[in-house]
């Protein structure tokens, strides 16, 4: 428990000082994968909550179309895909980060987004027509800072330069598409194999 409090405190320190924070996460084990996953889950919930609860003034989303469970699954699998594809690219490109560092880099990066989305959702209850800009500025600031944090995180855990980080992120995106393609391919082939055996079963069943 004491350990967890330390990790939590260190996460806040990382949000304030991403350069140093991520460096010591890589080299002194100051981060926590569990905490990163919890942060991603919170991020997913805040995203859903924003779309459900933001005031009507800024929000015309049909609440019937929102399902927090599906969104949680979607967000988690996206982060898993992102981490795996980033890991598979950086492995080949001299990145020093381990899988857990990458997960922490992305997971801690969602913290400012979560905080600002929740804050903006609360603020939205008080804004009217011409003050909508406040709400959007809060959202943009949160997302912008989160993206910068993730960038710095990837850069620090792999010990890259900024240029190389951007380049590997581009490759990450491509490998992400490849992974999705392969998953679909495998699923399709498995279903064909299943069909094959199930038809053999039916044939035998009818002939016996």
């Amino acid at each position: 428990m004491e350990n967890f409090r330390d990790k939590l405190k260190y996460m806040w320190y990382t949000v304030g000082h991403p350069m140093d924070g991520y460096y010591w996460i890589r080299h002194r084990e100051r981060g926590s994968v569990l905490l990163a996953i919890v942060m991603i889950i919170l991020f997913s919930f805040s995203f859903t909550a924003n779309r459900l609860l933001a005031s009507f003034v800024v929000n015309d989303i049909n609440p019937r179309g929102i399902d927090s469970f599906y969104e949680l699954i979607a967000v988690l699998s996206f982060f898993l895909l992102l981490s795996v594809s980033n890991w598979s690219v950086t492995c080949l490109m001299g990145g020093e980060g381990r899988m857990k560092d990458i997960v922490i880099a992305f997971g801690y990066g969602t913290v400012p987004i979560t905080v600002m989305v929740v804050a903006a959702t609360i603020v939205s209850q008080a804004v009217a027509d011409n003050e909508m800009a406040f709400y959007y500025i809060m959202l943009i600031a949160g997302i912008g800072y989160g993206v910068i944090m993730m960038l710095i995180g990837v850069m620090q855990v792999h010990n890259y330069t900024m240029g190389k980080t951007l380049f590997t992120l581009f490759l990450t995106f491509i490998s992400l598409l490849i992974i999705i393609f392969l998953i679909l391919l495998i699923a399709n082939m498995l279903s064909m194999v299943y069909l094959f055996f199930s038809s053999i079963y039916t044939e035998i069943f009818f002939r016996l």
């Binding site: 405190k9 260190y10 806040w12 320190y13 009507f56 015309d60 399709n188 064909m192």
Partner: protein, 504 residues
């Protein structure tokens, strides 16, 4: 593989259908209509609503007699038009005649099947359009004779408009008029077959004047890329990018032309053209006047609405007739969709092949070319209240409409326009809380926002004293707290906090 995919799709579809069927209430439709009437909410979801119009009387020609004889069935009639004096003119295309019915829709007054053309008896050949001008002259689009015939009420020929010649027309252009309309200055507006450049306008003396309201073709970048990649042979087989033809025309008192067209995107099926030929229609909050909004699906029944005709009904209201699903969509001058009714089918009150719509003494008439009959629709109380309230708003008397909107809400509490109307009234009256409630129900973000700001500011002002006092106390309190903590720290009895990370 294919089979598998199909079975998956089928399974999903069946499940969805089962869920949809089991969750939908069973409609023993109170009005006994053979279809459901509905409207769309802000989220473009279908919300069932009471019927604004219900089928009333079916008018068939075989029930009419003229000069003591039965006039026989209509044969594929293509157009109906109301004269300024209240009679109904039917272009009985297949029988090559114009049938005039009185305003009660129960007697045939006149049949025009021939006229005296400079001493020679002349007839029509497939007249597809008819229209009556303010001078009570009859304009007939005599399609297969390639001309527009203008007749007086007694049948004498006024003029024949044929063979238009102009620099902007092709040398061997064959003029086949389909639908025709006349404005207050006797200018003729007509749609013609294979004429994609817009509505043809003729001066009162019959000279071709210009094209009007051309629908420009929009080619998406994606289509451009495909065109670039395609070989010459492929390109020849592709669909040509030609503008859409107009399908129906109507003219309001001010000389603005309402013209319907088939929009493959389902975004804009009606245009309101000013005298310069520019489209000045308002498309409402969702930027859509193309009929149905939920148009996706794998069946023939899906796809955007195809407006075949439009009628201007006064006070900014206009109704458009959808050929694909046989529905009639009514919009107000702001482009709000007011109500939807009608359907294709085989029961009475549905259509087989609807081609033309007309408005007559608070009734709507739809001409069904397939069954050769005119279906008349009568407004229910719901429809009448909406019409009246919208008309009042069109005239700028929105405050007078409040009682009407209240009664509309008694019939259908989902009506967003009624809720918005009430909300605006409360906003004007200064009751911001009630205004917020109704504007929220009416899904009107713009006005809800205004109501909300006023409500919030009034609360802030009301509690300004308490709020400011509380703030002052808080600030003072926190300052004192900090002071105390500082002095304690100096004494050194806590080794407090802070992210004191040190790394070597």
């Amino acid at each position: 593989m294919r089979k598998r995919l199909t079975s998956i799709i089928m399974a999903v579809f069946i499940t969805a259908a089962t869920i949809a069927v089991s969750t939908l209430p069973v409609y023993a439709t109170p009005s006994g209509l053979p279809y459901d009437t509905y409207n769309y909410d802000l989220w473009e979801q279908i919300k069932l609503s009471p019927a604004a119009y219900i089928p009333d009387k079916i008018v068939r020609a075989e029930n009419f007699t003229y000069n003591g004889e039965s006039i026989g069935r209509f044969a594929s009639p293509q157009d109906i038009s109301r004269s300024p004096y209240g009679d109904l003119y039917v272009a009985d295309t297949g029988n090559n005649r114009i049938v005039v019915i009185d305003s009660t829709m129960s007697n045939c007054i006149k049949i025009i099947s021939s006229f005296d053309n400079n001493g020679v008896t002349d007839t029509f050949n497939q007249p597809t359009g008819v229209c009556v001008s303010g001078k009570n002259q009859i304009y007939v689009a005599d399609s297969q004779n390639r001309r527009i015939v203008v007749l007086e009420q007694d049948g004498t020929l006024v003029k024949i408009v044929a063979n238009p010649r102009s620099e902007s027309l092709d040398e061997n252009f064959i003029f086949t008029p389909l639908k025709v309309a006349v404005d207050y200055a006797d200018r003729i507006y007509c749609t013609a077959q294979f004429m994609f450049e817009g509505i043809m306008v003729f001066e009162a003396n019959g000279d071709f004047s210009s094209f009007f309201g051309t629908i420009s073709v929009i080619i998406t970048p994606w289509e451009q890329i495909w065109k670039r990649l395609a070989t010459r042979e492929q390109r020849a087989n592709q669909q040509l990018f030609i503008p859409t033809e107009f399908t129906g025309i109507d003219i309001d008192q001010g000389g603005f032309v309402y013209a319907s067209s088939i929009d493959n995107e389902g975004v804009q099926g009606v245009r309101r053209l000013n005298p310069k030929g520019e489209d000045v229609i308002k498309k409402g909050g969702n930027e859509n006047i193309g009929g149905d909004l939920m148009i996706f699906g794998p069946t023939d029944f899906a796809g955007p609405s195809q407006f075949i005709d439009v009628v201007y009904r006064g006070n900014g209201l206009y109704s458009a007739l959808d050929r694909r699903r046989g529905r009639i969509f009514t919009y107000d001058h702001e482009g709000n969709l007011l109500y939807i009714f009608g359907a294709l089918g085989t029961q009475e009150g549905t259509f087989n092949l609807p081609v033309s719509i007309e408005d007559m003494n608070d009734r709507l008439l739809v001409l069904d070319a397939g069954r050769s009959e005119i279906v008349t629709f009568r407004a229910t109380e719901y429809g009448r209240l909406i019409n009246e309230a919208v008309s009042l708003r069109f005239d700028g008397d929105e405050a007078l409409a409040v009682d009407l909107w209240k009664r509309v809400l008694e019939i259908n509490e989902n009506n967003e326009l009624a809720n918005t109307g009430l909300g605006k009234a409360y906003l004007t009256a200064g009751d911001n809380a009630l205004a917020m409630r109704y504007l929220r129900l009416g899904m009107n973000r713009e006005y809800y926002s205004i109501a909300f700001r006023r409500y919030r500011n009034s609360i802030l002002i009301e509690h300004a004293n308490a709020g400011l006092t509380a703030m002052a106390v808080l600030v003072a309190g926190s300052m004192i707290f900090k002071r105390i903590r500082k002095t304690r720290k100096k004494k050194g009895d806590t080794d407090d906090t802070g992210a004191g990370f040190t790394y070597e």
